[in-house]
């Protein structure tokens, strides 16, 4: 569900910013800090960044085993996929706590 809101963020940060469609101070350091320091924004960002990692980890596991037909090393692949998602979650929490 969190992944449903990724497109708007990619569009704003990846396209609109470089294309100059945003007001000049929209992503200024002060404004970004103000916004991200709000507790609701922190919870929102934590969910937005971390949850899609688990979704993608699960889907990529499926791709490796059933689409590419690599049936060996199931434990290793699972550990790599979900481990990356867990590491991403830990990094997200660290970044949000330090802001």
């Amino acid at each position: 569900m969190a992944a449903l809101l990724l497109p708007v963020h990619v569009a704003i940060l990846g396209i609109a910013l470089a294309a100059g469609w945003l007001p000049s101070d929209a992503l200024s350091y002060e404004r970004a800090l103000d916004l991200v320091r709000h507790p609701i924004t922190k919870v929102y960002l934590g969910v937005l960044v971390a949850l899609p990692l688990y979704h993608a980890a699960h889907r990529l596991r499926f791709v490796i085993h059933h689409q590419l037909g690599l049936h060996g090393g199931r434990r290793l692949v699972a550990a790599a996929c979900y481990g990356t998602a867990l590491a991403g979650t830990a990094l997200t929490v660290v970044a949000l706590v330090r802001i």
């Binding site: 910013l17 350091y29 990692l53 993608a56 791709v63 037909g69 991403g88």
Partner: protein
């Protein structure tokens, strides 16, 4: 015939060629949707990198915005955006297929369920954009 010795009794596993997902259009579209998970991960990683840059102070943050402004980052973002849009829209389509919405005795037709979901998604995205940019 391939047989795996999993539990007490042997289980027949139908052999599948590695290219089964190239066979029909439906399979290929399903495979593309699964592969766009890579774009989902990439979006999360970019947002995470932005948060990290923000936590490291003004120079790091403005440096990251400078990278987002580069042509390489724009091309990468365009590819990622195409991937996550495909992932999101196919998700809404499959939700409309699975979820039955009843109004009294009548069942809402699928295309109306899909239209409702798409409208909701666009509206929520617009609210997020508004809060992100102008609030």
């Amino acid at each position: 015939m391939s047989v795996t010795q999993g539990g007490r009794s042997p289980v027949y596993v139908r052999p599948m060629p590695r290219t089964w997902w190239l066979r029909t259009r439906r399979y290929r579209r399903f495979a593309i949707r699964e592969l766009t998970s890579v774009a989902v991960t990439a979006s999360s990683v970019i947002l995470l990198a932005l948060l990290f840059a923000l936590s490291r102070g003004r120079d790091a943050y403005e440096g990251f915005l400078g990278w987002l402004d580069s042509s390489g980052a724009v091309v990468l973002s365009a590819i990622i955006l195409a991937g996550v849009l495909y992932h999101t829209i196919t998700w809404l389509r499959l939700t409309a297929h699975i979820q039955v919405v009843r109004l009294g005795r009548r069942v809402l037709p699928r295309h109306l369920v899909l239209a409702g979901l798409l409208t909701l998604w666009v509206a929520v995205s617009a609210i997020v954009a508004y809060l992100h940019i102008w609030l």
